[in-house]
């Protein structure tokens, strides 16, 4: 049996390893707080649980059970390995056994998670709990769909399916919906920003239809640790809820190690790459028998790390040292994902390299170590990924390896920032007009609206707007859907840009589909002559046919991989409004955001040296959207303040203000960081002035750019306050971003701070 404690001790004594460690935090083990099974739990459930080794409950599971039994909505905050599934499975299964007609709906953000949950539920059900569990998602074959609707007592699905498959066809679901008693929303913290607004509206539609059939379900939401779990969940479900956040599960001692790869070129200050370093650390752990997960920042990195580890283990005599390592990411075919998930659960696969796809709570059989190849985008994410390692009572390890990016380098050297900050909060604007309107159309399709009926607030004006548009008809006190279209088809919950490209293996005359990818990523990863890595196998792209959504590849065996160079550009197309505010000029208008890949690098395996370049001939990826633009005219205070910034720092300074705005604006606009794009220009060709663009990351816009314009004064003042009060020395990820220049003479943070102060003061 591998002994994690022993391995930790070896690491602690490994000079080479320790010289790169900037911080080693030990979180003490925690005793469990237990609770016996409540007396009204059906004995069949208790016996099924006991046969799986569960003799009693954790305190938070019991609390959750009690609240649900009372008919209260619940939000449970659950870190990994705290038995969150029992929080909902117990009250739901019990309720379903008590009332033979009752039904439950489980919503997961991804299909992988659904599959996992179904597997877990089935294990209980097979032990003598007669409740039928069905999955209903895009992969479900039609014969199974009918059975799910008719007799599935627990239906497992996802928001997209609910939106375009279930709700618009609700009469077919009448049996299920009229008896719907429980709705479980897992990973509710992922429903933030624009996506969260969609979810809030979707739940409104669900409640409306269920009410029509006479139901009144209880909501159970599960969240990871974020700043405001209760507020977010309440916004999503549109009702009050009880918060349960005291975790009663025991946990073993956790070790979190911050690791900075060693410098290999002291003159230029270059460090060893995060990919190579992470795979080395992971390999070491795997060889010692430790089940390890590696989180990589990108698809390429995921495949590379997995390939390198496998290559190092390659040995036919020892059967690769009996260690099986798999890579895991989106773009694999469903059965491939299933295979990997199963292998992890039953221990066949000892190590996995993943993108953030596995960050979510899929139960993958107790990993003992997690290696993060670079910091993920947020503190909350980092803790979630680090939290994948560790079982109930054993010691676990998470190693966070810094990449050379300025943010990583800052974090790795300021452990107090990482350990001291509370995780980010999630905001949604449940009254975002654009999103509300889209869902209002879908709701009107589902059921007519009576005059005065509420939909997250008063919608009389919006219905009037839809009537003017001609898609609804007002007659005898109700608004009826009066159009031939199917509105759910035109509304996408995620900003998917069209259908995926299918990847076809044409080696030796074959025609096998091996995977898929979204179009923008395909342009960056599947250009002609690109090296495509898929689960460790190497292919070369023969032809990318964007129009027909196919990419033809052939097996190859070269000694390099390819990486494309993406250039982004933004262009103002129209000026819809122009006004002076906060001593600057604010425009709003339509913009064209273009990104283009024109060249690619060939990088040798292992050394990652560049061994050549190639050209790419692909059309640009274009997005039309809305943007607010802040201009700094020379005759206003903002322009004058900018003129006082030293010439050689102006480009940096304006870029840093952009970063600041990206940090601050989401709070005011009630959206997520990823919903906004920011671009800065020293002198924009259209405006001929220093300009900062703040734009919606969704084609057509979702009202954020216009919202920015309305709140620009508050946002700029908040930005100025933020940097003035930030405790960092010369810039950190929370304000303007770390200063990555080598031996600077001036303090960029002070320069930016003074610039903003004199700008906003006027």
């Amino acid at each position: 049996m591998p002994d994690t404690e022993q391995v930790l001790s070896e690491l602690a004594h490994d000079q080479g390893f320790m010289s790169c460690v900037t911080h080693w935090e030990t979180l003490p083990s925690r005793e469990g707080i237990f609770s016996p099974f409540p007396s009204d739990v059906d004995p069949r459930i208790i016996s099924a649980l006991k046969s799986r080794g569960i003799e009693c409950l954790y305190s938070h599971q019991a609390e959750c059970y009690t609240a649900v039994r009372k008919g209260q909505n619940v939000v449970v905050v659950t870190p990994t390995a705290s038995g969150k599934t029992l929080c909902y499975n117990l009250p739901v299964l019990n309720g379903l056994l008590e009332r033979r007609e009752a039904r439950a709906l489980y919503l997961f953000p991804t299909k992988a998670l659904s599959f996992d949950q179904q597997a877990e539920l089935n294990e209980i059900v097979l032990e003598g709990v007669p409740v039928k569990v069905s999955t209903y998602d895009g992969d479900t074959p039609s014969s199974v769909r009918v059975s799910a609707r008719e007799s599935g007592r627990i239906v497992i699905s996802n928001p997209d399916m609910l939106h375009s498959g279930i709700l618009p066809n609700h009469p077919k679901w009448i049996k299920f919906l009229s008896n719907l008693s429980y709705v479980v929303i897992d990973e509710v913290h992922t429903y933030r920003g624009v996506f969260g607004s969609h979810m809030a509206n979707l739940i409104r539609r669900l409640k409306r239809v269920v009410r029509f059939y006479g139901g009144n379900p209880v909501f159970i939401a599960l969240s990871a640790t974020i700043g405001n779990p209760l507020e977010l969940a309440v916004n999503i479900i549109g009702e009050d809820a009880v918060l349960i956040e005291k975790n009663g599960a025991p946990s073993g001692e956790k070790h979190i190690v911050l690791y900075n790869p060693p410098i290999v070129d002291s003159v230029q200050g270059i460090r060893r790459g995060v990919v190579l370093e992470s795979q080395k650390i992971a390999l070491n752990l795997l060889r010692k028998g430790i089940k390890t997960i590696v989180f990589a920042r990108s698809r390429i990195a995921t495949e590379l790390i997995a390939s390198y580890i496998r290559k190092s283990l390659e040995n036919i005599f020892t059967d690769n040292e009996r260690i099986r390592v798999e890579s895991y990411r989106g773009g694999y075919l469903p059965h491939e994902r299933r295979e990997i998930e199963l292998g992890l659960r039953d221990g066949n696969i000892r190590g996995v390299v993943s993108t953030t796809a596995l960050e979510l709570g899929i139960d993958i059989g107790g990993l003992d170590a997690a290696v993060l190849a670079g910091f993920p985008g947020s503190i909350a994410s980092a803790w979630q990924q680090a939290g994948r390692a560790g079982r109930r009572s054993s010691v676990s390890l998470a190693v966070i390896v810094a990449s050379s990016s300025p943010v990583d380098q800052y974090l790795i050297r300021h452990s107090d920032y990482f350990f001291g900050r509370s995780p980010e909060s999630g905001f949604i604007d449940s009254r975002n007009l654009y999103i509300l309107l889209d869902h209002l159309k879908c709701a009107a399709y589902e059921l007519p609206f009576t005059r005065g009926e509420d939909f997250g607030g008063d919608v009389g004006e919006l219905l009037g707007y839809l009537e003017e548009e001609g898609v609804v008809r007002f007659s005898e006190g109700s608004y009826y859907w009066s159009d031939r279209s199917y509105p759910a088809e035109q509304v996408s919950l995620r900003s998917a840009s069209g259908e995926n490209i299918v990847i076809i293996d044409t080696t030796k005359g074959r025609q096998t589909v091996i995977g898929e990818m979204d179009r923008p990523s395909a342009k960056e990863l599947l250009f002609d002559n690109a090296v495509y890595l898929h689960r460790g196998q190497q292919f070369m792209v023969k032809k990318l046919d964007i129009e027909n959504k196919t990419c033809f590849v052939e097996e190859s065996d070269v000694n390099y991989y390819t990486d494309s160079i993406v250039k982004t550009d933004i262009k103002l197309l129209s000026r819809d409004s122009e006004e002076n505010a906060c001593h600057a000029t604010i425009l709003t208008g339509d913009v064209l955001v273009r990104s283009q890949v024109t060249k690619y690098k060939k990088l040798a395996f292992f050394t990652h040296e560049s061994i050549g370049y190639g050209d790419i001939f692909l059309p640009e990826e274009e997005m039309h959207t809305r943007s607010a633009v802040i201009l700094l005219p020379p005759d206003q205070a903002s322009g004058k303040a900018f003129a006082r910034v030293p010439v050689h720092l102006r480009e940096e300074a304006i870029a840093r203000v952009g970063s600041l705005l990206q940090n601050v604006a989401p709070v005011f606009l009630l959206c997520d960081r990823r919903d906004l794009g920011v671009a800065e220009r020293l002198k924009d060709p259209e405006t001929q002035l220093p300009s900062i663009f703040v734009y919606d990351m969704y084609p057509g816009g979702t009202g954020l750019a216009d919202g920015f314009r309305q709140k620009v004064i508050d946002i700029l003042n908040a930005a100025s306050d933020l940097i003035a009060n930030c405790p960092c020395e010369s810039g950190c990820p929370s304000c303007i971003g770390p200063d990555s220049r080598i031996s600077p003479e001036d303090n960029l943070k002070i320069v930016v701070r003074d610039f903003l102060l004199s700008w906003t003061a006027g």
């Binding site: 007009l433 707007y465 009826y480 009066s482």
Partner: protein
């Protein structure tokens, strides 16, 4: 673009504040709508409810008064007055909760005529009442002739609903409407003619919609008919403008659909009763369809297809012989299919027979070798199939010590 939304909402707010009333928009203000008494008359139709209109139109009879034997209804002695030809017009094709039925038609043989009843919904609030009329029509069909209680077989006495694609579209949409208005739908026995049409003509024509069948098989041109795709738009125009002129062509299109439906029924009964006089129907599927009721006739049609060079028909006959264990006949057919029509499946059947029945390994191997020569370079899977058999036979030979 998106930026307009805020402004337009402002404008609407202003407009309402000024006029002090809600939804004062053209086409839907109560006064223009017309309440119950003011609803527009629809020429040719009688008002039978607040928002429901009906008319009955008679035509020359299309069907004989009875069929001695009906293949479609699977019974003897079918009185054609039991058949109800049924079609709907809806506000869209999506089949979800937002698709409304606004026109329903029932065509019957009655008093030596073909009579069509059309029910029309003139506005959404009248749906419940409209559906009640439809329910009565369907209930009546279901229990048709049930006064003749002496006949034992339920199905022999009840009415039969006939539709085109009704199973996948019309009935599910109708069922949805009933569920949403809280009532039940009682359905009689239902024959969907799309299924036999598809079975017989798939691969012969690119399209098998009602219109396509009318044109290509019945050889009828409607001339000046409203394309089906424009029907919903006409209804929406009527709702806004309340002018029944929008609907004329919809009503006649709908009636034509029902007449065609009946004609297709007549055609199919004729084909199945007398295949000889319908050389335009492919023999193989026709043979298979008839095989269930009349083996001899069915088989002769399939053989006819085979003799004309239809490989699948040949394989079907081969399979029949194989099942009956008439090996010589089966082998003759397969050999013919392989040599003359390059059928790989026939080759495989021959190999199976040689290997597992006759145990003539030499013959099997030489046939495999010959098979290789006929393969094209890209036919990888077929090659692998032959490889598999060859290896197995060679192993068997070795084990026998030959």
């Amino acid at each position: 673009m998106a930026g307009d939304l805020g402004e337009r909402l402002e404008r609407l707010k202003e407009a309402r504040r000024k006029t002090g009333q809600e939804t004062a928009l053209s086409g839907s203000s109560p006064s223009k709508l017309g309440c119950r008494t003011g609803d527009p008359l629809i020429p040719g139709f009688t008002r039978i409810g607040s928002y429901t209109y009906k008319r009955d139109v008679s035509f020359q009879p299309i069907l004989p008064p009875s069929y001695e034997r009906s293949y479609l209804a699977s019974c003897k002695a079918l009185g054609t007055d039991r058949l109800v030809f049924f079609d709907l017009e809806t506000t869209g094709l999506s089949g979800g909760a937002g698709t409304f039925v606004f026109l329903a038609g029932f065509g019957r043989m009655k008093d030596r005529c073909f009579s069509v009843s059309q029910y029309f919904l003139s506005d959404y609030p009248g749906e419940r009442e409209f559906l009640a009329f439809l329910r009565d029509e369907l209930k009546e069909t279901a229990s048709f002739g049930s006064s003749e209680a002496s006949v034992p077989d339920e199905r022999e006495i009840s009415g039969i609903l006939v539709s085109y694609n009704g199973k996948s579209f019309d009935i599910p949409v109708l069922r949805n409407r009933f569920l949403m208005s809280g009532s039940n739908l009682i359905l009689p026995h239902h024959i969907d003619l799309l299924y036999p049409i598809r079975f017989l003509f798939r691969g012969t024509y690119p399209e098998l919609s009602l219109g396509a069948v009318e044109r290509c098989i019945l050889k009828m041109e409607r001339g000046g008919d409203l394309p089906g795709a424009l029907v919903p738009g006409r209804y929406f125009s009527f709702l806004k403008g309340r002018d029944p002129a929008f609907l004329e062509e919809v009503f006649s299109h709908h009636i034509q659909d029902i007449l065609s439906l009946c004609r297709i029924y007549a055609y199919l009964e004729s084909v199945l009763a007398d295949p000889e006089s319908h050389p335009e129907v492919p023999r193989f599927p026709l043979g298979r369809l008839l095989y269930r009721h009349n083996r001899e006739l069915g088989l002769s049609l399939i053989r006819e297809a085979m003799d004309r060079g239809d490989t699948r028909a040949g394989l079907f006959v081969g399979r029949l012989y194989k099942k009956a264990e008439e090996w010589e006949e089966a082998f003759t057919i397969w050999k013919c299919l392989y040599t003359e029509r390059r059928s790989f499946l026939a080759l495989v059947e021959m190999l199976k027979y040689l290997e597992h029945r006759l145990h003539d390994y030499r013959a099997a191997l030489s046939l495999i070798e010959e098979g290789y020569t006929r393969l094209l370079p890209f036919e990888v899977e077929k090659r692998e199939e032959l490889n598999k058999r060859k290896e197995r036979i060679e192993r068997k030979i070795k084990n026998m010590g030959l």
